[in-house]
């Protein structure tokens, strides 16, 4: 029992971000959501921008 609790605690300590312990997956999640946010920001930023055609 004590070993099991210790194992769970070890797993929890390894958790970095968003409940994920692998930085590649955490980075992938941030990349995915961040790209979506970037689309929104870019569209709003350029909403009325006159660009040369």
């Amino acid at each position: 029992m004590a070993m099991a609790i210790s194992h769970v605690r070890r797993l929890e300590r390894r958790t970095l971000l968003l409940g994920v312990d692998d930085p590649w997956i955490a980075a992938g999640l941030i990349f995915m959501f961040g790209s979506g946010v970037a689309c929104v920001i870019y569209g709003i930023w350029k909403w009325n921008a006159e660009e040369e055609d």
Binding site: G19, W24, I25, A38, C39, V40, Y42, G43, I44, E51
Partner: protein, 538 residues
């Protein structure tokens, strides 16, 4: 078991709305130009959602969502690439140039855009032929995906019946309403997909105690990874596979790279850029497309992976064991965990995903045959010259409609004959994205950005990219070679290679070859590069 009245009622309402939007498209389609480019004044909201819903089919939700269920969250990198490269980068750097050049050269299709850019009939017909050879398989895979789920959910419908209904409804609005009907229905289907996936995601998240909690529980499931998956390099659902393992190679080279890069040269997506009135409309469509992609593919991958926690807690099995196959993970999870109203909404979401992609594929194939090939074969390369009067405009509309009907029939026959198992949906999707990138991307980029593009480099790059892709697909890559079965019939083995070479995706061979060809020939071909005629330099 879902109430059959609810299923039929929802399906009928959906089909009626599609019919009304198709009718609206038909009313506003008076000429070949309307059929091909929807009048070039489409609203940003419709462009963004149409781009996204065309991009995302059942294969992205069921196929790749199921892949996340089996192999874990490494696939979120594909969703990130889809949004950052396939949408934001594509609109900002490709979209505006495509719209500008398309307008300047009065191009109405992707083959015509490339042909006109290089002033080359060869490029135009070659691109059209690649589309007509490669796209029916992709369309058939989308048809199989949509029809399979329809017959599983709608009472009293078998696969063939679902296939006929699915093809007929889509064909009806594509043939009559052209790109207007396609984009109007895309927008509606896009909204439906966002609503459906968001509802399922929120319910799943609440079932598992929140975002972080769901991931944490999934992390803790790592010891339950099936032994066969462990042997291939999988270490958990919230961990990237071991570098260089079979699982890593499949994930990175067969899924993330081909689909992530291939999107940049997709004919059915590039044509969306030409429907915008101006660059402002393209900028304004980016947020709609971005939100759409996050809420559909992004959430589908998370739901797929999280299904393991649900199945483990309730049945003591991980998703791939409980569902039996990758393509069945998402449907099995929805059926087991959600209320029947959500199951029906999910059915409509999948129908919308399949239909929105399929309608665009039908439209692009029809225009490649009825506009591009027809123009080259009849010596009317500059089609617009004779499409100036009302009668000829109607004539061009009729040719496009007949050609679209023919390609739909071919896709239908393929879908009826192809095997329905073995991950054909994801494989065919990846294959079409791969051939487009390998053959079209280098000359597309040169045509858009080079000040003095080389026609010879473009032609050779196109031919070598296409041939190299076909050869590697048919003989070397065991995943794709198994679809054709040529090597199996000749040698009794899945590939002419063994080991790592046999799992390398064709795009990783063909795209570098076509790119290298373009660069080398461009450097050598100093004397005959385009100057002045080349739109990129204008």
């Amino acid at each position: 078991m879902v109430d059959s009245g609810l299923v039929w009622g929802a399906t009928i309402v959906y089909v009626v709305i599609m019919g009304l939007l198709g009718y609206l498209g038909w009313r506003r389609t008076k000429s070949g130009s309307d059929f091909l480019l929807a009048g070039k004044n489409v609203h940003p909201f419709i462009i963004g959602l149409s781009y996204g819903s065309t991009f995302i089919s059942t294969s992205a939700i069921v196929g790749f969502g199921g892949f996340a269920g089996a192999w874990g969250l490494g696939i979120v990198w594909l969703a990130g690439l889809n949004i950052a490269l396939g949408l934001l980068f594509a609109f900002v750097f490709f979209g505006k140039r495509v719209r500008k050049i398309g307008q300047k050269l009065k191009s109405q299709t992707f083959p015509e855009l490339l042909g006109s850019t290089y002033n080359s009939s060869f490029i135009r017909w070659f691109v059209a032929v690649v589309i007509l050879l490669g796209m029916p398989l992709y369309a058939a895979a989308v048809l199989i995906g949509g029809s399979t789920f329809m017959y599983q959910v709608i009472p009293g419908l078998d696969f063939n019946g679902a296939l006929i209904v699915f093809t007929f409804v889509t064909a009806a609005y594509v043939i009559t309403g052209g790109l207007r009907a396609v984009m109007y229905t895309d927008a509606f289907q896009g909204v439906l997909m966002i609503v459906g996936m968001t509802a399922i995601f929120l319910i799943t998240m609440s079932l598992l105690g929140g975002f972080d909690s769901a991931n944490q529980q999934l992390t803790n499931l790592a010891p339950q990874v099936p032994a066969t998956y462990k042997a291939q390099g999988m270490v958990g659902w919230t961990a990237f596979p071991t570098l260089g393992s079979d699982n890593w190679i499949t994930l990175v080279t067969t899924i993330i790279l081909p689909v992530g890069i291939g999107v940049l040269a997709q004919p059915q997506l590039a044509v969306r850029f030409m429907t915008a009135k101006d660059s402002k409309a393209l900028n304004r469509s980016i947020p709609f497309g971005g939100v759409f992609l996050v809420m559909t593919v992004g959430l589908a991958y998370l739901i797929g992976a999280w299904s393991n926690v649900y199945f483990w807690d309730n049945f003591g099995q991980v998703s791939i064991v409980k569902a039996g196959s990758i393509n069945n993970i998402i449907p099995a999870f929805i059926n087991a965990s959600q209320d029947q109203v959500i199951v029906v909404i999910f059915m409509l979401t999948l129908l919308a995903a399949a239909m929105s992609t399929l309608s665009s594929l039908f439209h692009v194939m029809g225009s490649a045959a009825g506009y591009d090939l027809f123009s080259v074969v009849t010596g009317r390369d500059r089609f617009k010259k004779y499409a100036t009067t009302q009668n000829t405009a109607k004539g061009s509309l009729r040719v496009n409609q007949v050609a679209t009907l023919i390609v739909i029939f071919v896709s239908f026959v393929l879908a009826a004959e192809l095997p329905r198992s073995g991950g054909i949906i994801a494989i065919a999707t990846s294959m079409f994205f791969g051939v487009c990138a390998s053959a079209f991307l280098p000359l597309f980029v040169q045509g858009l950005f080079a000040k003095r593009p080389s026609v010879l480099a473009a032609k050779l790059s196109l031919a070598i990219g296409a041939v190299a892709w076909v050869l590697w697909t048919t003989f070397a890559c065991k995943t794709t070679a198994s679809v054709f079965g040529v090597v199996q019939a000749l040698t009794g083995k899945p590939s002419i290679f063994t080991g790592a070479l046999a799992v390398i995706d064709p795009i990783l061979i063909a795209l570098p070859l076509s790119t290298l060809t373009l660069i080398v020939v461009w450097v050598l071909d100093k004397n005959s590069r385009m100057d002045g005629r080349g739109v990129a330099g204008a």
